[in-house]
Amino acid sequence: MQLNREELLKAYEGMCLIREFDDAVHYEFAADAMPGFVHLYVGEEASAMGICMNLNEKDTIASTHRGHGHCIAKGCDVNDMMKELYGKKDGICGGKGGSMHIADLSKGMLGANGIVGGGPPIVLGAALTYKTKKTNNVSVGFFGDGASNQGSISESMNMASVLKLPAIFVCEDNGYAESTAREYAVGGKILDRGKAFGLDSHEVDGDNFFEVYEAAKHVIDNARNGKGPALLHIKTSKVYGHFEGDAISYRTKEENERIKNDEDPLKIFKKKVIEAGLLELTQLENIENESKAKIKKAIQESKEAEFPNANDLLTDVYIKY
């Protein structure tokens, strides 16, 4: 294993922060304290962290409607994110975007997305910039199993292949798109679609941080070195429903239990590093407690923060009428 202790701690910190963030949102939303609708990433944390730990600040990602994890993994500030979810003036987008539109260009986060399949074409553009300017950067586009059926995904993979762009396509396959199973909606194999366009394509166990990290390292390094685009098909699962308020009646109890107990990437990571003697239990527990405290503070500050007002309605536009 190539990761040192510091990197391992960082990985766990990131995953814990994502977990705490979205768990907290789950409860806040249920308590009717949050506006709009939110899609939670709980259960998929290893994917965001495993990928983003291979990226530097200048590399970019484009995310999905289920974007909190990607944002945190790419370094967005959780206080500012939480304020955004509450629609506050100091939110990461000034309260104008909300959960589905979190973006922080200074961190290389090109935006969550309300349009399924909307992100990967943007990634092509970022990759074209890096190729043209010869910066050795890469851009990563996340999308779901459901999104894999959009024409925009196929078009993007083909274009990346044709132009040999430093673009990585990451399909986070949690088995469902809303209430529809992947088995029903995906014809053939997602992996084969990447191969068909000539992409270096790999299937990855998304519950295992180390496997994601390794696979990502391989394809990202290649892309940096001009070897072109790749597809990672990450098999994962999410704990909560499609969005908050979804009764998840399309999944069985057993499946829900299995996801919670056997497919939890944090538990798996913890077990692995402790059994291998890489980290101490107390170190991990400290991280857990710190994450809890951070998120608690973020929620409290967000609730107390000010809403935008009439003057903010007509900012960020080129003409006011």
Binding site: P35, G36, F37, G87, K88, K89, G91, C93, G95, K96, G97, G98, M100, H101, N113, G114, I115, V116, G117, G146, A147, N149, Q150, G151, S152, Y176, A177, E178, S179, T180, A181, R182, E183, Y184, A185, V186, I248, S249, Y250, R251, T252, E255, F307, P308, N309, A310, D312, L313, L314, D316, V317, I319, K320, Y321
Partner: protein
Amino acid sequence: MPIKTYREAINEALLQEMKKDENVVVIGEDVAGGAGTNGEQDAWGGVLGVTKGLLKHFGRERIIDTPITETAIMGMASGAALTGLRPVAELMFVDFMGVCFDQILNQTAKFRYMFGGKAVTPLTIRTMYGGGLRAASQHSQCLYPMFTHVPGIKVVLPSNPYDAKGLLIQSIRDNDPVIFMEHKNLYDTSGDVPDESYSIPFGEANFTREGKDLTFIAMGQTVEICNNVADTLKKEGKTCTVLDLRTLSPLDEDSILEAAEETGKIVIVDESYPRCNVATDISALICQKSFDSLKAGIKMVTPPHTPVPFSPPLEDLYLPSEEKVLNVAKEIL
């Protein structure tokens, strides 16, 4: 008469037309839900439950869940309409038309004319629009002016449960492509809806209030706003006409002019972006055809020219409200 919600009225229209005509099929993402899962089959019935319950009557042969693939959905539905089915395709949020507009704009809308009148395309596209749910910039738009701009598509905006049922039945029976737009905020509103099937012809606007002092012209969700403002003004001794356009294509020009001439003072309330929207179009119409009847400049209440903001106070400031409409009305009363 039985009281039903807007959601129930739409569901009933689909149920009755599907029973009546076996060529009617419903196509869309999660219109039943649960496809390929081990859990409940009719798990969603659409994101907001509008098509829930149809699966048990018609099975997956006619309630067709699709992958997330709007271009293919719209294209498939258009092609099916062209060749003998009468599909009701769902575009979950109207904002997603960005993904599939070619199939609507360049394909289905053009068939009849471009093929020299040889084609009929009995396609209905059901879609949700409008703000108020804190759904932010990509899930809150109105966009009906964009469809209204395109010849060949009919654009329908029911404002209440009675109209929703009658206009949807008409949409399904109609031999041209229709985009049937449902405002998310209306689903839980209720009103009298007959149990029988009935259809309301397109191109007939509806007067929901009659008065002498001012005319409101409204569509979809803004009808309710104008009705309430008219009722408020009535208590203050001013009576207002409210005209519900019902369909934007075809547009009932006669009723618009009739309503305008009735009072000579006009406020048009439109939730869509303010440039090139329905309000601007109608005020142009009135100015061209009935300028002499005007006793004051035409007023419009619309959002500002920005995307829909997420933050609740911003969205409230953004949307037309009763308060705004009342204030604007008072300016010319």
